[in-house]
């Protein structure tokens, strides 16, 4: 279980996250929604302790993440996979090496096994045979799928997906969401997904949170969000705008 308590983060004197509290139950997928700049990506980075908040706590399986030293954090991060919004592919490695990188660092597989695994995941995300190419040779959608492959291949029990389908066509987006659902259903992965594809989130997420300007406007399950009368929640969930948001 992941517990986020009263997370607050300031930037240039302004709160970019303001007293955010939520929970992600084991084996469930939390859908994180909100306008651009609401603090969604920042919240995921704080949960992984990539960014330190100014106030608040984060617990992963009852462990206070923010009190861990770098060695303990490294141990924790072996259990977390993260798909970054900007792909974060390593420019100096080709696609195959990018995907293989976490497996090689983990030292649990032989090179032959890694080669087979990399080939398999590339086929799964619809990119067979591109292992020799470098990130700068790929389109945005291809980079997103390679980044996804790198994040999921080590099979971490916790996954964070930051806009997994941005830049992808509807068919590939659907395939990616199916993979996310499979991760939860078959492997029991605990996850959080940021996406502007509300229909996709509806299909794969169990609980939902909506951030606006750093504040948590809504947190609850499907029934609660269906019944919510908060204007911005309705706009996002139902997919229409009322002039300006909120």
């Amino acid at each position: 279980m992941i517990v986020v308590e009263n997370i607050t983060k300031y930037h240039s004197g302004r709160p970019v996250l303001d007293n955010v509290s939520l929970e992600i139950a084991d084996g469930s997928n939390l859908g994180l929604m909100g306008p651009g700049g609401a603090g969604k990506s920042l919240l995921l980075k704080i949960i992984c302790a990539l960014v330190r908040p100014d106030r608040g706590k984060v617990y992963i399986d009852d462990v206070d993440v923010l009190s861990l030293d770098e060695i303990e954090l490294a141990q924790l991060r072996f259990r977390i996979g993260m798909l970054f919004q900007n792909y974060a592919l390593f420019d100096f490695m080709n696609v195959a090496d990018n995907i293989a990188f976490p497996l090689r660092q983990g030292e649990k597989h032989t090179e032959a096994e890694i080669e087979v695994l990399v080939k398999g995941i590339l086929e799964e995300v619809g990119l067979p045979g591109i292992g020799h190419q470098f990130p700068n040779e790929l389109s945005g959608g291809m980079k997103k799928r390679v980044s996804f492959a790198r994040a999921v291949l080590p099979e971490p029990p916790i996954m964070f997906y930051d806009d997994p389908t941005a830049g992808l066509d509807p068919v590939t987006s659907s395939k990616i969401f199916l993979l996310l659902k499979e991760m939860r259903d078959k492997r029991g992965v605990t996850s959080a997904t940021i996406s502007h594809d509300i229909q996709g989130i509806k299909d794969i997420c169990d609980n939902f949170a909506l951030l606006e300007r750093g504040k948590l406007i809504f947190f609850g399950d499907r029934d609660a969000i269906e019944a919510s009368e908060i204007s911005i929640v309705r706009q996002f969930w139902d997919g229409f705008s009322l002039d300006e948001l909120g």
Binding site: C48, Q85, A88
Partner: protein, 244 residues
């Protein structure tokens, strides 16, 4: 205040580098990649710089050599200044402009595109994986480049003395061997190692601290080159004072 912040940040990085040195751990592939990128690819520009520097030393002293007929001191004059000062400084500045700037740009781009965060998310320590190989390779290659550069510079001086001043290359070489001691050669190598370390720390510090997208990367590279140049002269001053 901003300068104090940068100096403090650099000091913290030095501390992290020292902490990561015991026991020493280097990522093999990343180290080899940097050895090639830093060293092998720098040879051409260092060789060109060195051969010209050697020639310039001879040309500058040529008037006085001819005036006093001190042809037997030409090699000493060129060699002394090349080994002790001009060689390490010119190669250091070239190294900073080429390797240091490239290093800052690469790390800065990694920073603003979340690649550094991706490493941390994969439980990889960026200092151990990125910085340590760079520090090691930049010290080693600065040392090697100065050794090679010194002798290429002497070759440039010898060729220039032969064809511009009519001084035999054998006389030039004899002058170098007779009047230049091992201590003079080592003096320059102490500087090479110190310059390599300084350029590595400064370029990595500015690279990892980059903010603000492409503009930020440009600013970081600029700061890295300027900072490295200043560091080269400050270090040169102190080593020259202590070792003289």
């Amino acid at each position: 205040m901003a300068n104090a912040e940068q100096i403090g940040g650099g000091a913290l990085l030095v501390w992290e580098i020292i902490a990561h040195s015991f026991p020493p751990r280097l990522d093999g592939p990343e180290t080899w990649r940097n050895l090639y990128r830093v060293g092998v690819k720098s040879f051409p520009i260092v060789a060109v710089t060195a051969i010209l520097v050697g020639g310039i030393m001879v040309i500058q002293s040529g008037t006085y050599i001819e005036q006093y007929g001190a042809y037997g001191l030409l090699g000493w004059g060129a060699g002394y200044s090349i080994f002790r000062e001009v060689g390490p400084i010119m190669i250091g500045l070239m190294f900073s402009g080429r390797v240091g700037a490239n290093n800052t740009a690469e790390l800065g781009t990694m920073k603003v595109t979340d690649q550094i965060d991706a490493l941390r998310a994969l439980a990889i320590d960026p200092i151990g994986y990125l910085v340590m190989p760079r520090v090691f390779t930049m010290i080693v290659m600065m040392f090697v480049l100065v050794v090679v550069g010194d002798f290429v510079a002497l070759l440039g001086g010898a060729i220039t003395s032969r064809y511009l001043l009519g001084v035999d290359m054998e006389l030039f070489a004899w002058s170098v061997i007779t009047y230049i001691g091992l201590h003079d050669f080592l003096h320059g190598l102490y500087k090479a190692v110190a310059f390599g370390f300084a350029i590595a720390v400064i370029s990595c510090h500015f690279g990892l601290g980059t903010k603000g997208g492409a503009v930020g990367v440009g600013k970081a590279v600029n700061s890295s080159v300027v900072g490295s140049a200043i560091a080269i002269f400050v270090i040169d001053y102190f080593i020259t004072y202590i070792d003289s």
